[in-house]
Amino acid sequence: MADKRVPEAVFLLVILYFVIFVCLTWSPRSARAADQENCMLCHRYSGLGCFDKETGAKRIFYVSEGLYRNSVHNNVLCSHCHTDVTEVPHKPAKKVNCATQCHVKDPSTNKDFSHKIVVDEFKKSVHGKSPLFTFEEGQPRCKYCHTNPLYSPLRGILAQKPGCESEALARCVACHEKSPWASRFLKHFVSRTAPRWNKKQIVDLCNNCHADKKLMQNFGLESTENFKQTFHWRNVKYEAENGADCLSCHGPRKLGFSAHTILPVDDPTSPLYAENRVKTCGQSGCHQGATKLFASGAVHGTGVKAALLEKKLRAEGEEISPEEKKKLRTEIDDAGMTKLQQTIIWGIKTFYKVMIVLVGGFMFIHQLLDLRITLKERREGRHH
């Protein structure tokens, strides 16, 4: 028996060696694309990074080539975006401007591709206009929403890995010989046919900032916490087909708006400007046939937004003064009640709480005493 153990152990060791070897050397197939600019010479080291002098934040300069090659920008060279990097080693690079023209050709126009159109559009929107923003942190930049996750699954959770499903790609490659091209095309196609964010994620993304009461006060805005009290949110929550998320009204695609073109509600071109609401509510798939009265309802349900709307309705279109707006903002809580009203509700609740404790307590003790005396009477045979 003893002599047999040696070859078994060797056999196992060989298998182990191969497993470790494969694990260490394996990388996604398409990651083998050439690094034309040789940036990976340094950036392939996962320890590459520093602490920011000003903010103290940790910054990581490591680039995973495999992941990058599977990202939406896989066909773009580093220097196309990092235009200020011209030599190696380079000085700290500036932040990338997404409106930069890169050297990728747009197949529809054959011109150099750029996100400039979107950036220009965004700059006109409420999120891109600077006068509103007194500090930079409040302004969402491209990357705030475009996180470009690499793991967008095509077939459920288990199939998640960078890039496209090989099976799907195989169907392309059957005719389109060059697989990197097919992979890019498929990825682009797949990522554009469906919104990157689902409705729930959109609400959460917007609420990240807009539900923060303090942050919103800095901009003189109302928080949107109470959106989750509305029927629209219910629809989103239970994944109803036409559930209305923030963008359905604030940047309706069907009416030619988008997340990049969100405008303040009092901008006459905004889809939520009083005159345009009927059209926005009545967009296909939503409240077709909406009337003006319907469209003037309070969508966020309660809170300052609702109170402002109600006031506006009562004043029949007259504008509310900024002072009054400010007063409402400080006075009204999320449920849309003034301080007096809150006190009244509090009073009612307290009254009932006291009643429950007093009456319930009295009754409980009374019946407990009755139980005691009844048991005693029964023992003594005085009770039927």
Partner: protein
Amino acid sequence: MAKKWGRRAEDQEWFPRLSRVEVWQHNIVWICFVLLVATGMMSLIPTDWVTALFGNYTAQVYYYRRVAHLILAAILIAGSIWHLAYGIFTKPGRQMLIDMIPTLNDAVQMKQNILYMLGMSDSKPKFDRFDYREKMEYIFGLIGTTVICVTGVVMTFAPFFPRFMVEVCGTIHLCEATLASITISIWHFYGVHWKPGKFPQDTSWIDGLVSMEHLKHEHPLQWERVMKERQMAKQGVKDASSVATSWGGQHDHHNNTTLEAGEE
């Protein structure tokens, strides 16, 4: 004398306590109450739990919860109106209302009874047709039903009322419902279900009858009146109900209401 049901013990006499109308009014109230509490309190359960339970049918469950709550509420309101009409327009109803009026004597009896229960006094107060416990419960019930019905109607027709009023009514509705559920489960359930000797139930809710023992022990004044009345009848007084010490008209009422119910 009152009809004895087959399953009743034959060794003692059974006396009417609730008329047939009252039994049915009680049935309407308790069935509606239980179901209203169930359908109402369901709105307090986190939606996620309900979704986990009913999955794709959650929306339907919530829809029918509301429909059921409204239908039951309508039945309860109709029952309450019936009860009010019964209390105003019929003789036994009026007698019942009169007997339910709280008096100073009730406060005295309450004090005596509490002292007796605490063992600080040996004399147990003699209760009449309705003791202070029953009066308290009835009056709380009247107030509570009114409050809950009015606030419920406001909530149902919310678009016709100012927003804040609906908010106030919602708060009161919920608080009142909680108070009612707690008091009913302590006060009423003890009195008619959990009290030793009563368990599992005081059967008078089914046929409106109580045993002689029950009457003698829990409503001795009424019992004494009944006995006096019988004695007088034996002695030849023809119209027993004309006697001032009649037993609150209870006996006669039962016959009257039975007739009435039969005519309906």
